[in-house]
């Protein structure tokens, strides 16, 4: 059909299209009762800090457009629940010789290189969007230079924050390392005798070592003597008995999370029979 003869039809069509768009147009929210991240405003606002400001103005509104959930690029989730633990003193995947955040050294922190466009690998973050405003880049640099402190103040008692693999999780075959994150820094001299792993027949699984990684004093990594075959397992961390785990200030583990120091921490997980990767 000749294009020239279609002008009237085209105009009608485009008008119709515009009408359809207008009718279909759902509008934006007015934000009533929400914070700047679109979340309901809590009754008690969280404690403000430099990292909290970065989370609220950069990670949550911008980075989590991609870096969230199971599909987060490079496994880096930047939602509020995971960002700190996956950034500070963790080697980057793209340039393993650099830490994502190297406390006290902004120039040697991979996140700074990525948001500044100077990284050796990949595009500038946020990918496909305008660069971060300079004041946000400066804020991140400042936070790292000041030691990359977390947002929240540590609680008074020593509790388990998370375990990888998590309770009830089915880990891939070949699992040979467990990672436990605590709410406070752990006394590294007590870790060798306070962690136990047992199999489904209640038999102990040899632990090669239980170490606090450098620069991550609230984390314990359990390296097992051998990769775990398929089956069910239980992790136990002693918070009572002859030797109980404590933090570096002497607070004994509140393993059962009842708010009182003492009590063992117990959790179960499974290992699948599939091939390891």
């Amino acid at each position: 059909m000749p294009v020239g003869s279609n002008n009237v039809l085209a105009a009608k069509g485009f008008l119709l299209a515009s009408l359809v768009l207008a009718l279909a147009a759902c509008t934006a929210g007015n934000g009533e009762g929400l914070d700047q991240n679109g979340q309901p405003i809590p009754i008690t606002p969280p404690t403000a800090s430099q990292f909290q400001e970065i989370q609220d103005t950069v990670f949550t509104p911008i980075c989590t457009q991609c870096h969230i959930g199971a599909n987060a690029p490079q496994g880096l989730r930047l939602d509020a629940a995971n960002s700190y633990a996956l950034l500070v003193n963790v080697n980057s995947n793209e340039v393993p010789g650099l830490k994502r955040v190297n406390p006290g050294n902004a120039d040697q922190s991979y996140i700074v290189q990525k948001i500044s466009g100077t990284a050796a690998v990949g595009g500038r973050m946020p990918l496909g969007q305008a660069a971060l405003p300079q004041d946000r880049i400066d804020l991140i640099r400042s936070w790292i230079a000041a030691g990359a402190q977390p947002a929240a103040t540590a609680p008074n008692n020593l509790t388990v924050t998370s375990v990888i693999p998590a309770a009830g999780e089915v880990a891939p075959a070949g699992l040979s390392k467990l990672t436990v994150v605590f709410a406070r820094d752990v006394d590294a001299t007590l870790t060798s005798s306070t962690f136990e792993v047992r199999d489904g027949f209640d038999q102990p699984v040899p632990v090669a070592n239980a170490q606090v990684p450098q620069g991550r004093p609230n984390v314990v990594e359990l390296k097992l003597a051998r990769a775990l075959p398929a089956g069910s397992y239980q992790l136990e961390i002693h918070g009572q008995g002859a030797v109980a785990l404590a933090d570096d200030a002497g607070h004994v583990l509140d393993g059962d999370a009842d708010g009182v120091a003492g009590g063992d921490f117990l959790m179960s997980f499974d290992v699948s029979a599939g091939a390891s990767r």
Binding site: A17, L21, T27, G33, I62, N71, A131
Partner: protein, 361 residues
């Protein structure tokens, strides 16, 4: 028959069949009443163009064509090797409330494609390498084997997954929500069917967003579309089994051609247990008006519901673009985009404008 002898036939066929312009956007396929596989070696669209796609790009894409009939580019530089590429250079302007406006030049992307057709029309090894921005990154590397020629294929390796329409704009809400776009390939296996008016794909992949696999669960994506000359409709399903919780998505999409105007739409709905209880939804409505050969006016309106458990947190994005292809393999694009979101988030209320020079072959 040599490619050279095929050229007059291809030109004639293109002129007879087509009445629109063509690059890698779904509205063009709708305008032409064809499947994506007609112009792209990837049956789900995007990336390297076929001989047919390249021929069409030169004879119908541009407002005028420079050069003689003997200069027709087919992409085939050798009997068993085809090459292609895309480069987009931008001038961007952005205004975020309460911040000083910014403007910059940048290279949005520069890619090269290689397709080794070691058994013609049957077995190909395909590579898509992005050279900019940043260092070179492999985006696709896969083996594609047509078990039955032009009907049933299997593909394995790194690839873009099938879900919804493969819009050029990777920042569209529907593409951001699904996580399946031209910036996020995954590794796995895909089977596809091209039969009559039907086109369908099923892929099983790591589901790790292109990163290292971190759990034993896998992602399944599938896409089915029924294609007619004036309309088309399809559906997509995604399921990703992860240690953090499952991620389930459903999509519906379609297009309607009214003379020189094409209307497109897509609606996606996701339940992502890994980020909480709320459900997410994104929509896109697009109208493309072919003003005359080589000229296209595009209007899009998008809506995003980030959590249906929370009221008044929705976002919208409206775009108006003009696309002009003065000669073959060149496209000039100019556009404005207006974001609208909650007033307390400046980034959700930004405005953008851009000029883009797009070269491709």
């Amino acid at each position: 028959m040599s490619v050279r002898k095929l050229v007059p036939w291809m030109v004639a066929t293109v002129l007879l069949v087509m009445a629109g312009t063509a690059n890698a956007e779904p509205y063009l396929a709708a305008q032409m009443g064809l499947k994506c596989a007609m112009c792209h070696v990837n049956p789900t669209g995007g990336g390297m163009r076929t001989v047919f796609g390249n021929t069409f790009a030169q004879t119908q894409l541009a407002e005028k064509r420079i050069g003689g009939d003997d200069d027709l580019w087919t992409g085939q530089v050798m009997k068993f090797l085809s090459v292609g590429g895309n480069a987009r250079a931008n001038y961007n302007w952005e205004d975020v409330p309460h911040q000083e406006g910014t403007n910059d030049f940048d290279v949005e992307e520069a890619r090269a494609y290689l397709d080794f057709g070691v058994i013609p029309n049957r077995l190909s090894i395909y590579l898509d390498q992005r050279f900019a921005p940043g260092n070179a990154t492999n985006m696709e590397a896969n083996v594609r084997y047509w078990i039955k020629e032009n009907t049933f294929y299997v593909k394995a390796g790194r690839m873009y997954l099938p879900f919804g329409y493969r819009f050029e704009d990777d920042n569209a809400f529907v593409r951001q929500l699904s996580g399946i776009n031209m910036q996020a390939p995954d590794e796995g296996v895909e089977v596809g069917l091209e039969s009559g008016s039907w086109t369908a794909q099923l892929a099983i992949s790591n589901g790790a967003g292109g990163g290292n696999e971190v759990d034993p669960g896998k992602q399944v994506t599938t896409r089915v579309e029924f294609v007619q000359s004036k309309w088309r409709a399809g559906a997509s399903v995604l399921y990703n089994d992860t240690d953090l919780g499952s991620r389930t998505g459903f999509g519906g999409f379609g297009a309607l051609t009214l003379g020189p105007v094409v209307l497109l739409g897509e609606v996606d709905w996701f339940d992502d247990e890994s980020i909480g209880d709320g459900k997410l939804m994104a929509t896109l409505a697009e109208a493309d008006w072919k003003l005359k050969q080589g000229h296209n006016l595009k209007l899009t309106y998008e809506w995003f519901e980030p959590n249906d458990d929370i009221d008044e947190d929705e976002q919208t994005r409206a775009s108006l673009l003009y696309e002009w292809s003065p000669i073959q393999f060149i496209q000039l694009r100019a556009g404005v985009r207006v974001y609208d979101g909650i007033p307390q988030n400046d980034n959700q209320n930004r405005k953008q404008a851009f000029l883009q020079l797009h070269g491709f072959f």
